[in-house]
Each structure stands twice: as C-alpha cells, then as structure tokens.
C-alpha cells in the first residue's frame, strides 16, 4: 500500500515538473501583459501533435523534436500576439477572454480536423528503460522529462535575470509606463514574452510525447492545470512555480491511487480552491 503510494507520488512529482514548465510559459504571458490566455493548454496539445507528426514522418525522436518545434511555436506565438492579442490589450477583460477562448476552440477543432478525434502516440522513444531505486521503479522517460523541465525552467530564470531582453520583460511586468519611458518598446517586449511563453509548450509537448498519448481535447486540461499551478505559486517566483507544479503532480497521483483514477482533477481543483481561499496571493507570490 505505502509502496504503491510512494511510487505514484514519485511519478506524479516528476510529471509535475512538466506542469511547472507549462505554467512558466503562462506566467510569462499573464505576468507581463496581464492577458488571461485560455489557449495556452491547446498550444501544448498542438505541440504534442506536431511532435507526433514529425516523429511519424521523419523518425526524429520526441525527445529531440523540441529543437524543431521550439522555433515553430515561437513563431506561432508571435503570430497569435500580433494578430489577436495586440489588438485586445486595451479592451476589457471579457474581450480578451473571448478571443483566447475562441483561439482555444479553433485550435481544438483544427486538431480534430487534421488528426481525427482519436488518441495518438508515438510507437517508441529514444529514452528507454527504467531505473530501480529500492523497491521503486522510475521510468527513464519521466525522469529525463522532469530533468529537462527543471533545466529549462532554470535557464529561463537565468535569461530573465541576466539578459537585456529578460530585464526588459521584468521591467515591463513591474511597471509598463516606467519601462517604456526608459526605452523599453512594450510591443516588442510583449511579443517576445508571448512567443517565448508559447515556445515553452513545444518543449513540454515533446517531453510529454515520450510517455503519453495525445488527443484533441487534452488542451483544456493542460490549460486549466497550468492556471492552477500558477495561482498556487503566485506571480513572480520561479522556484515557487516548480514547487507548485510538483505539488499539483503529486496531489493528482495521490488522488488517483488513494481515491479513484477518475478523481484526479477533483483533487487538483480542491487543492486549488483551498489555496485561493487561505492564501489568495499564492504560496510564493509577492504582496
């Protein structure tokens, strides 16, 4: 009993690292331009399908496809920003939500049209086998995925704190007017944040495809999941995002093993409501 529980917790915590990676993309977008992007999870779904397509068509492994899909999703992010988001920045919240929900529905319908409404998975992955620690087995693909996620999160954190563009993003997030008065071009900065946030879903999509299948409806699950992680962490703390991702992943696994596999979402959202109720700024958020 405890063995299965710990085993599941381990798996959940590892998957949680990928959730944190997805949520980091969302946090870049929401934290900087205050846009509630409901289509974020569907970009993960699109990334997974692109990974599937590339894998099937060329034989390139899912673990390597992010090298191709990362720039692709960055461009898609730029396109979405300039075509849709930029026009709604000064509109009311409802308008922004409407366009991102619209985009979400569009992406899902597009996926259904192109890839049909059935789960797809890649037949194999480069990352094979598992690691035995005591009586617990960890799938190598999950472990590598978690490690890559943590590395990428760390890399983004360095990018934000050390580079010119990263500081511009943070400055725009802290105070847009003050940033633009000191030479930060807000449109360019927003586009960069949106592109980068979207591109992170490419990495997550590739990693997920090493051990999971994809179907057109899973976008909304990842979307809401990443909002949970973000709300739980609060804005402005990247380590907090990682910890929240792990908590969400572990809670999900625990709910599945202790209660009922169908209760996975229930557990996450109960936790989500609890955190919002007791600590609205999130576990690690500022102010």
């Amino acid at each position: 009993m405890t063995d299965t529980l710990i085993q599941n917790l381990l798996n959940g915590a590892l998957t949680g690292c990928i959730y944190a990676l997805i949520a980091l993309g969302l946090s870049l977008i929401f934290g900087v331009m205050n846009v509630v992007n409901f289509a974020h999870g569907d970009l993960v779904m699109v990334s997974m399908y692109l990974t599937f397509w590339i894998g099937l068509g060329t034989g390139i492994d899912a673990a390597i496809t992010p090298l191709l899909t990362f720039p692709l999703l960055f461009l898609i992010g730029l396109l979405v920003y300039y075509a849709i988001i930029d026009r709604t920045l000064r509109q009311r919240y409802v308008t922004q939500i409407a366009v991102t929900v619209g985009l979400m529905t569009f992406l899902r319908a597009l996926a259904q049209l192109i890839w049909k409404a059935q789960p797809r998975a890649l037949p194999y992955s480069l990352i094979q086998g598992s690691i035995q620690i005591g009586s617990y087995t960890i799938l190598a693909s999950r472990l590598v995925s978690a490690a890559v996620s943590v590395l990428v999160i760390f890399g983004i954190s360095l990018f934000l704190s050390r580079t010119w563009a990263g500081r511009a993003i943070r400055a725009a997030s802290d105070d847009l007017d003050a940033a633009s008065l000191h030479g930060v071009d807000f449109r360019q900065t927003y586009a960069l944040a949106f592109g980068l946030g979207s591109a992170l879903t490419a990495i997550a999509g590739g990693l997920l495809m090493t051990f999971q299948q994809v179907d057109p409806t899973m976008g909304v699950r990842f979307g809401l999941l990443s909002w949970c992680v973000l709300a739980m962490a609060g804005l402005g703390s990247i380590p907090g995002l990682l910890i929240s991702g792990v908590i969400v992943g572990a809670a999900e696994a625990m709910g599945m093993s202790l209660w009922d596999p169908r209760a996975r979402s229930l557990v996450i959202y109960l936790l989500f409501i609890l955190v919002l109720w007791l600590r609205p700024r999130g576990l690690f958020g500022r102010k």
Binding site: R167, A168, A178, L181
Partner: protein, 242 residues
C-alpha cells in the same frame, strides 16, 4: 539666447468634459533650468504625460529640437533624448537598484558597456552602498534617487522631474539641488521641473511657467513670478493681493 529644445504649441487635452490643458504653449531652451508650477490640479502632470508620450493630446503640437514628437510612443521619445521621473516613484519592484538602472542604460549601451554606465550613474547619485538593495525595500528619498539615476542612465538631453523634491527633508533637498545643478552645468542636461517646493524652484530655476486650471497664466523669472498678482491670486485666492 540658445536654441529651443522643446516647443509646445497650443496643446489641448480633455478628459470627458474636463479640460485638463487648454491651449498651452511654452518653449524651453537648450541648457535651461525651467520650472512649471501651479496649484493642485492645474494640469502640470498631464502636461508631462503628453510630452513624454504616455498620453496623446487632443490638439496641438510638441516639437523636440525642431522634430514633431506629438503622439509618439514613450520609448521612441526616450530614444530621442527625453525622459522623466514620476511624482510617485515607480521603480521596478522586483529588481535591485543596480538592475533597475541597468534597464535605463540598455537604451544606449550594449551588454559590454552597460556596467560602466551604471557605475557612473550610481556614483553620481551616491547610490554605491545601496546598489544591491531591492527597490521594493527602500524608502522614499532613496527611491527618488533611484528614479533619477535610472532616468540619467538613458542619457537624456531633456529631463523632466515631476515633484522630485516632495517629501524630502531640507538636507536631502539641498543635496538634490546640488546634483541637479551639476547635471545641468557638467552634462548640459536641460531640466524641466514641476514642483511645489518653492525653495527648490526659486533657488534653482531661471524661468518659471505658471499653470492654473489648464491654462498658462504667467511666465518669467523667479522675481517676476513671485510678484505677479495673477499668480498670487491663483495660489492664495482673490483678495490676497492688496
């Protein structure tokens, strides 16, 4: 007389029915220490916001060194050489003082030279011992110095200061005035200050413009302004002039 650096012509800004600026014209000359004063709600901050591009005027024109900058976005105006500090300091809360100043310095410098510029400005504003502190942890007078430093890092030709002296004690005020005078003399930065602290306006500025209810009611030297009946009336009410 030196060439004009900023010309504002017939500027009008409305917010619904409220006319915040009504046909305001002014001219600031290169190297000048210029001041805009007026009672609360006279339109001083609105005038600043329109000059630096955070708000777009409904009518009128703004020329910077002869070039029309009306309605240009703030980062372009910053490129050209105008920047400002805010009435309520708005440093970047998540950053250290050094980083906040860096954001300004990137405007003119690449990664290699940016540190040199930051050091220079930090020395000028006497922030060396504070450079690693976070902007969200520091007090008002220090925040004002950070704002000034960050603005200087963009290397402006014209610097607009919105109530930079408010809330400072007499010693801090004297220090600020010394720094501003140095900037003007050594770096030839034209200064335009909006201020309530008369000690600073009268002690520092060569020319003063007075706004009241969005209109220019007087312009002149400190002596002329301090004896102008319309100005006294605007500040103290009718009947104050005997």
């Amino acid at each position: 007389m030196s060439a004009p650096i900023l010309q504002v012509a017939h500027l009008t800004k409305r917010f619904g029915n409220l006319i915040a600026l009504n046909d305001v014209s002014l001219e600031i000359r290169e190297g000048e220490l210029f001041s805009i004063i007026g009672p609360n709600g006279a339109g001083k901050s609105t005038l600043f916001f329109n000059i630096i591009g955070l708000q777009k005027p409904d009518a009128g024109q703004i020329l910077f060194r002869g070039m029309d900058i009306t309605g240009k976005p703030p980062h372009k105006i910053c490129d050209l050489g105008i920047t400002c500090t805010f009435q309520v300091p708005r440093a970047f809360a998540s950053m250290t003082i050094e980083e906040a100043i860096r954001v300004g310095a990137y405007k003119r410098y690449g990664e290699r030279d940016v540190a040199r510029k930051v050091d220079e400005v930090i020395a000028l504003c006497d922030l060396e011992e504070h450079r690693r502190q976070r902007c969200c942890d520091i007090g008002l007078s220090l925040l004002r110095r950070v704002e000034l430093a960050r603005a200087l890092a963009t290397e402006p030709m014209l610097l607009l200061l919105d109530e930079a002296g408010a809330g400072l004690n007499p010693t801090e005020l004297t220090e600020l005035m010394t720094v501003l005078r140095r900037l003007n003399e050594e770096q030839h930065i034209t200064l335009c200050i909006v201020e309530h602290v008369m000690q600073m306006v009268m002690g520092l500025c060569q020319r003063i413009l007075v706004l009241d209810y969005g209109e220019v009611i007087a312009e002149g030297s400190p002596q002329e302004i301090s004896t102008n009946p319309r100005v006294i009336e605007a500040y103290l009410g009718k009947g104050a002039v005997c």
